[in-house]
């Protein structure tokens, strides 16, 4: 590795090349083609985790639907922790964004007359989920990536891992990044930076998230002084395949699939989610919200009514009554995944499923322009918390979110960059510091393996920050994570090569995950109530007096975590009871 060169500078640097990052890049290029925009991503853009999204993208388009109903479903689904001003503009702009994707070539599934088709989805009272069969994220990402290629101002740094934000006088003005192919470290200057690195499900052992989902952008912002908001809200998706954690989309239930316990009984009827009917009913039973369905599973397992497997208890997803034709037309990927990875055919067989870590409602605190409290720093998508998802995200809101707020982040970063002065001299010294740190890390000899510490972290998180939590276990997890931080600081990388060193990346990812894991357990310990995906057995009720508020996690100078609160914005929907199936 060589000394950092601040040779490349751009008006806007975007960290992350998934849906939010690419949408932001296009927004910058469309704001002013003279602006130079760079996408720095640790994987080639079409490898990003957006590719794995399956079921669809919500936006009110049907004649019988309305923006207000989409807001209400989202806010009640989020257990009233959403900022309603953000949700209102989100639902308005979602439609235009999905239409823009259509004009860019996204192969949305159609009605016979050629209009975009919509399907039902969990927690949604109207059919408003646009879909491209059950590969919606794949098609959306490839459409965005291919479309981005026509914008000449976009420079890509593919397979570059960003390790630090450069901050000068309270303003972010670039990143330090490693080119994986060569090991070269470079400081990439920018007048504005957009974080779009996705979520961090890999903090847990059993997750739908790809190997790359390690919370890198959240950790970059947190270390630079930006607060992480509502990190205790971690979504368990109710239907993951055992062992692999591969997601079986909610669309399987929207198309009519049933969840059965070991007796073949549709157990959700016992958990205030409605009464079973042969045809799916919106906001009822299998189309309830994810938090409630995952919680019902835990109770069902406690009653001994689940099926034991080597990978823990499961229930069954029954799609057999849908028939081969419907499964092939609407759920081809579900069938492909079951055949390839579970060796079962949902046309004939029951599909074993269990709750699996899927999504982080929390993230880097931003306002509705996608701006963080740090000057020049913006964030969008799962990395960010704006917050439209509150305490529990509804399925099919995350794809429109990456488009709406990716576009907003790009536009705001472009406007900021056009006014911003060049970075000050302090940046070069920071870049030199970071290079030294990385070189020391690479050369460090330490006995303990990265993988062992990572596994310990994951099991600590599953034990303390799962579907149900309590104060004692969370307090112990705070201590355990501190110890793991110390062990990680002493661990060697175990590979000194400069060429495509995936072990160096794993060490840096572990450090990021430990930071966000700490923010999760600290936020969860302090929130003494149960709301949405955060369920405390020692505080089983929602407490709007104390906790109708966002948790804001700040990193202290000594590495500790300080929690503050910020009020929730309520516009027209005062907190009420969440009602499903009745």
């Amino acid at each position: 590795m060589t000394a950092p060169e601040v040779t490349s500078t751009h008006d806007v640097v975007i960290v992350g090349g998934g849906g939010a990052g690419l949408r932001a890049a296009i927004a910058v290029a469309e704001t002013d083609p003279r602006l130079s925009v760079a996408v720095v991503s640790k994987v080639y853009p079409m490898r990003s985790h957006t590719v794995s999204a399956e079921g669809g993208a919500a936006a009110a388009i049907a004649a019988e639907d309305s923006f207000d109903e989409h807001v209400y479903d989202t806010v009640s689904g989020g257990d009233w922790l959403c900022d309603q001003d953000a949700v209102e503009l989100f639902v308005h702009e979602a439609r235009a964004e999905l239409l823009r994707l259509e004009h860019w070539g996204c192969p949305w599934s159609r009605t016979p007359d050629g209009h975009v088709a919509v399907r039902a989805f969990g927690g949604m009272k109207k059919m408003r989920t646009w879909f491209a069969a059950d590969k919606t994220g794949f098609h959306l990402l490839h459409t965005l990536f291919q479309t981005s290629l026509k914008y000449r101002p976009v420079t890509r740094y593919d397979e570059w891992y960003a390790t630090r934000l450069l901050v000068d006088d309270g303003r972010v003005c670039g990143v330090v990044a490693i080119e994986l192919m060569t090991g070269r470290i470079e400081a990439i200057g920018a007048k504005a930076v957009v974080l779009a690195t996705g979520g961090g499900g890999r903090v847990f052992p059993f997750t739908t998230n790809a190997n790359i989902c390690t919370g890198d952008g959240m950790a970059l912002a947190y270390r630079a002084g930006a607060p992480l908001k509502d990190m205790e809200f971690v979504q368990y998706h109710p239907t993951g395949l055992p062992f692999t954690g591969i997601l079986i989309t909610e669309a399987a239930r929207a198309e009519g699939g049933w969840l059965l316990n070991k007796d073949g009984y549709r157990y959700l009827q016992d958990y205030d989610l409605g009464t079973p009917t042969p045809e799916p009913v919106l906001r009822s039973m299998e189309l309830g919200p994810r938090d409630r369905l995952s919680q019902a599973f835990v109770h069902e397992a406690a009653k001994g009514r689940t099926i034991d497997t080597p990978y823990g208890p499961v229930v069954h997803l029954d799609l057999r009554h849908l028939g081969a034709a419907k499964i092939e037309a609407k759920l081809p990927m579900v069938r492909e995944l079951c055949l390839d990875y579970e060796r079962i055919d949902p046309v004939r067989d029951l599909v074993p499923v269990r709750p699996v870590v899927h999504y982080m409602m929390g993230g880097v605190h931003t306002d509705v322009r996608a701006a963080t409290p740090l000057g020049g720093l913006f964030a969008a998508g799962e990395t960010a918390c704006v917050s439209i998802n509150g305490a529990n995200r509804l399925g099919s809101n995350s794809l429109p979110e990456i488009l709406v707020f990716g576009a907003r982040a790009g536009a705001a970063a472009a406007a900021y960059a056009m006014e911003a002065a060049p970075a000050g001299a302090g940046v070069a010294a920071q870049a030199a510091d970071e290079t030294r740190r990385l070189e020391e890390l690479l050369d460090r000899a330490g006995g303990e393996s990265i993988a062992a510490i990572r596994t310990a972290m994951q099991h600590t998180m599953e034990g303390a920050a799962g579907i149900y939590r309590d104060g004692d276990t969370l307090a112990k997890a705070v201590d355990t994570l501190r110890e793991l931080q110390e062990r990680a600081t002493a661990a060697g990388v175990g590979d000194r090569s400069r060429t495509f060193n995936t072990q160096l990346v794993a060490a840096l990812e572990l450090a990021a995950m430990l930071d966000i894991a700490e923010s999760i357990v600290h936020s969860a310990l302090r929130r003494e109530e149960s709301r949405g995906a955060h369920q405390r057995t020692d505080f089983p009720a929602r407490d709007d007096v104390r906790f109708l508020a966002h948790s804001m996690a700040y990193r202290e100078a000594d590495g500790g975590c300080r929690i503050e609160y910020q009020p929730v914005t309520v516009t027209r929907w005062p907190p009420g009871e969440r009602v499903y199936g009745r």
């Binding site: 590969k135 175990g494 060429t499």
Partner: protein, 246 residues
Amino acid sequence: MKEITLRVFRYRPEAEAEPTFQEYAVPLRDDWAVLDALNYVKEEIDPTLSYRWSCRMGICGSCGMTVNGDPKLSCGTFLVDHAPGPITVEPLRNFPVIRDLVIEMTDFMQKLGAVQPWIIRDESDDDPDTELLQTPSEMDDYKRYSMCINCMLCYSACPVYGLDSKFIGPAAIALAQRYNLDSRDEGQEERLDVLSEDEGVWGCTFVGECTRACPKGVDPAGAIQRAKLIAANEAVKAFLLPRWVR
């Protein structure tokens, strides 16, 4: 627990002049893919082993490798199907190797971009507030070509690309056809130059290995044949007709 031997291609350019093979004994578990075995090696035996992977559900396209001689997604290739082993794992063929199982793919990325893979149309009459209509049967015309995950198994299988890396190759031609056949697109003529060059569709000698290797049923060989017809028709028009009536 039963074991199986992985025979893995190793190459570290700073340390070795030539690639070598290294053997690792891994548990032979029913539900383990080759990728799970590689992760076991990296976590438990040898942290220096390098390879790409991400989604482990066959959609991100990262983990293509040569398994017992065939181009495969390592996340969807199961150990038990190759028992009792040994299983030889090598990088994808026809690409330069960066290190171990990691290949250089910048050439592939340039080729994808060269076919202008975006909607080209006169947008002046388009209403941003409504969708461009497209019936299900119009979508069927291009849908299978839109399923490519860019895993590059077809380039690894393609004997023409193996001999001449200038050949634009199966996935890029399928991608061009994905847009050419989309009822919303008017860009077929603009994509023709790249496809009609010697290194374009005419490079293909129709071996069909690409379609056999494709894990997503894209049928690049079929796309290439259709593109040849278009290119041939345009060539005939160019020969017979003056430019202003083409």
